[in-house]
Subunit: 244 residues, 6 copies
């Protein structure tokens, strides 16, 4: 059930059945020579839609802009400052709480969001520490799920990488097969390193990839990640709602 395609009366009815909501969150940032700038938003949006197709779960509109400061030396990347992203998360959770939602499952596609979103959760909890109906927030990073990570390891070994990974590019291609791209990349597996600011990132990773070979990504692989992610994150969602 997609919030954007529902009426308010349908949401009122949903709240009788559940007070949990899935909020996909991603970013708008470069993903190497053949990866889509929307990759990090497309992946959780795609998984969440799959979850909602199979079970009675409500999915909110995707937060499409995230914290991507370190990608800003590549054209087309956009970033919210950490403070702005925190405010967005706090406002959205606060809004849905007014209607009776209690469980906020942020389905995340971007590592750079982890620090600010986690910080936002702390600010949200600050006002509710002694309240039995205080909100419960979870940041579920789909690519860190152990089953997903195992599949990526099995398929690509070390070429999976850390940014513009094969798995995320494949999953985005499954969501948007019309946007599959082909590009030459040298070296085949991108370098890895620590990095500091955006200029440093670009110096060390001149085509935007970190440690990955996204030229290996296929729609067929993307479908495997999609099926697995829908299954495994559905379980994670249920565990979150049941145990918190």
């Amino acid at each position: 059930m997609l919030l954007a395609l529902s009426t308010w009366q349908e949401i009122e009815a949903y709240l009788e059945r559940s007070t949990a909501i899935i909020i996909p969150i991603g970013s708008t940032e470069q993903h190497g020579p053949n990866g889509l700038i929307g990759t990090d938003s497309i992946c959780p949006t795609h998984i969440a839609a799959g979850m909602a197709e199979k079970e009675d779960m409500l999915v909110a509109p995707t937060i499409s802009y995230g914290m991507s400061q370190h990608h800003m030396a590549f054209a087309g990347s956009a970033t919210l400052s950490p403070s702005t992203l925190m405010a967005v998360v706090i406002d959205i959770v606060g809004s849905f709480r007014q209607h009776g939602f209690t469980h906020f499952y942020f389905l995340n596609g971007h590592g750079g969001n982890i620090a600010p979103v986690t910080s936002a959760f702390s600010e949200i909890y600050a006002g509710h520490g002694n309240d039995k109906t205080s909100p419960r927030c979870r940041l579920a990073n789909w690519w860190r799920d152990s089953a997903i990570a195992a599949l990526a390891k099995e398929l690509y070994g070390n070429a999976e990488g850390y940014h513009a990974t094969v798995s995320e590019v494949a999953l985005s291609y499954h969501a948007h097969p019309e946007a599959v791209k082909h590009a030459e990349m040298e070296p085949a597996v991108a370098p890895t390193d620590e990095f500091y600011d955006a200029a440093d990132f670009r110096r060390k990773f001149p085509d935007g990839r970190i440690g990955s070979s996204p030229q290996l990504a296929t729609v067929a692989d993307g479908e495997r990640f999609y099926q697995l992610a829908v299954e495994t994150l559905t379980k994670d969602f249920h565990a979150f709602v049941a145990n918190s």
Copy 2:
């Protein structure tokens, strides 16, 4: 050309041809008994995609959460505070400016966004008042276009209304025919009035509509609005880029 489905190299190439970008902005809020909660985001996203299909224009991901404080008494509505929405707009414009974009065409689907987005533009200009390459921002409210308003008047007369209007519901149905809803509404044309806070809004407009009869909305009408909006806003976009 959709930013989300492009690579950074493709954006680098686009910037050789144009430094203008379309940023759809909407909201997540109730739209009456048969209108979609995502209506205000769906409409500008749909129009922008149509514009980008016909001409070489770049469309950024939609800002799907807007300033909807006055709708908060209806389940499923979410709002950013005006300050948060301002920060989002400032950060996104600031990001794209780093890559050389100069013209920011916010294609807006929601009246409640006008005050904070206009305020954000003032904060953006504050730092660039004496700079020849200072940014140019335009908030284009698609439903206020004179041709669009004339068509709505012709088709529905006063039943077009002010919130959950027939035209926006029709346009959203054209974008998502799978989500067309049917609902009884009493009275046929909703009341109109001034309103203050969210509770006052709900008291005066108990089913969420203001002055409208969205039960008249059809996919076919939606297509007419779509075609007209693509045409008329494309002209508006060109005029903005040429004259500012």
Copy 3:
């Protein structure tokens, strides 16, 4: 009754009779070659004083600095950022609410204040949506009143203009006849156009006027606007208090 010239015991007594307050709000910005920099503050201050002379209404001190970013290329103009102006409005409403005031009638003299003050109202309502005693805020733009606009049209036709209008300059002269100025202006009626930032404003409107001929302004006309504004805004104030 002017708050600034009252004692706290007098306000305590007033609150027994009414919980409504008028708060004039203006700006400090250029108003063309013969218009006063204080025009936008002088006008609502003057009207409000007139209202309070005739009826038992309380008038707060004027907020003399507004959002004037677009006038910053002209000497003497000052601006609060939109965020700062929002904070000022929020703090003042919050203060008076502590004493039991419920109705806040902002008598506004400046178009640039509309977006931030409207945004501030949304932030104020956010905390009070389900509260029967929630505040009621109204932004009354004196020059947009239909009777005022009709008089300006009758007297000056299109030469009334959009900034440094004849009517506002005339009204400010009625308030401060000692400050009437004379200046040559070319062309007689200033140009009109869309504008972006402060530098753009100055390029397009080199003497600060938009579409107006303020050289037509006289104290005598100012008196007509004054009398009419006091009468029509008094009605508007009563309607606001009675119906919200």
Copy 4:
């Protein structure tokens, strides 16, 4: 020369002669049984006008709302939070600096403004520490001037007090003789004490006065304070401009 009653061309001309500006700042807060709520704004406005009458000095519109948190238990008092007042001061100084002003003489009527305005000055200086043309800000508290304090001592001894002082009430009466009030007060000289929050203030000073006998205030005394303040603060202003 009053900024509010000048045109932008007149300010442009003034800037050829001087880059200093006087900005009166006060508050809107209770001043005991016979003191005006506007006392703290009226006094510096009055003195500044006197200074500008005698010499070629430019006076900006008064900042009429200050930091009055501790007076909030008395009807009619309004307060900006310290943060808001800081933002107001920062924005106004920043605005005038854009036109070439360098010396900002805040003529202050209210002790509660000292901490936030001083804090604002530090934030203003932060961006200009190594800049030869960095701004110079002075907070001149008229009642702390040694000549003024000596006159108050001479006239009233200890009955001058600390809030709703005889001198400030007298000076406000000189500015607004139409608003002179009479009230019984018990005890004749109000108590003094340390205080914490607004409720504590009211408990300790039930009629709003601290240590004062404002029933002694007369228009005639007010004129003496006025003449002396205009003279002594004019000197202070010149010293500030010459030595910083």
Copy 5:
């Protein structure tokens, strides 16, 4: 009793005996040629430890960074902006209030903290004006205590000075005899003057001292200040707790 060296159960027990806490606050800024950069933090930390040794008082960790904007032209100085320092104070008071603390005794070592900390107190009180258990905050500036000032006057006369004073350097030496420094200074007594920004400070006080001769500081004198400060501030603390 030092909070940092206690367990939470020990604090729970302390709260049965007292709800007052001492919070030392200082700065990290230059203190002339032989003064320590940590002087302003070391002094209140040292005094507070002495107080806690002799009586059952709880001392929180020192806030070691303060508002030192005006010292920023000297290497090693660090400053929080006034806004940041206010946020720190507000958060710390708010935290301890959650556990039941009611009296917050800020033992201050730095004049530059006075404006922002006082401003923070106003923001803290804003939310508690009508609450019988509202917090009580005191900013105790150890060097302004009349007994301390008298001792400094007796020992050094005018050479005590205003920054990098003999008394504070002596007290810091008593706390850290291993860090006693010797340096030539010209002139023997530093100049005094008003100052504006950091560059202005350095121009007027090239070695960092204002009006002082810290070369007179000795550990033995430091002990005298220490003993006296512990005694006199202990009394001040008790008076604060008893009377507010």
Copy 6:
């Protein structure tokens, strides 16, 4: 070399040799029945002092308050909001940068600081992305160092735990042997679980420990952690300075 015990001239001289600085950062929060509330500040302060004793490194004063929202249900814990902590870090880095420091090595004792401090780094980098001399910030979490973790594993196996760990309590005891505490704990090894807000934390971990047996902590073990941490973090510091 401790900044707090240095003069500004000594820092000026240090900057000729190095532009790197160590900034210990911790928290003020419960650490179980026998752990010190200052544990997370004591540990990095202690290690940093050890590093500075052996080599020519500069150590700034410790940031003693961190982000401890989840510990707020235990007496004596204090927290900065994530936003406040971010501001503190941004201001301190900005301050030292003014003197020429380029490398900021935050030696961290508290997991809860990771999200806000990482967020602060992104805000710091935002202004410096294309600047060759942009700052380099590193958050070194001493307990996550692989050698340290291996030693803890070897000594305590799973009883090391996740909060109030044996290693950190031991290290704090080595720094403050006068504060060693003894307490009965049931069960011997505390439970582990996911947690949400502060109330949830207390419900799940009633004595404050997560998964640990801090009753095993000894001064002797603390010395081993100390020696190892000084050695291994010194290497990490050199690698940071050399490679970034």
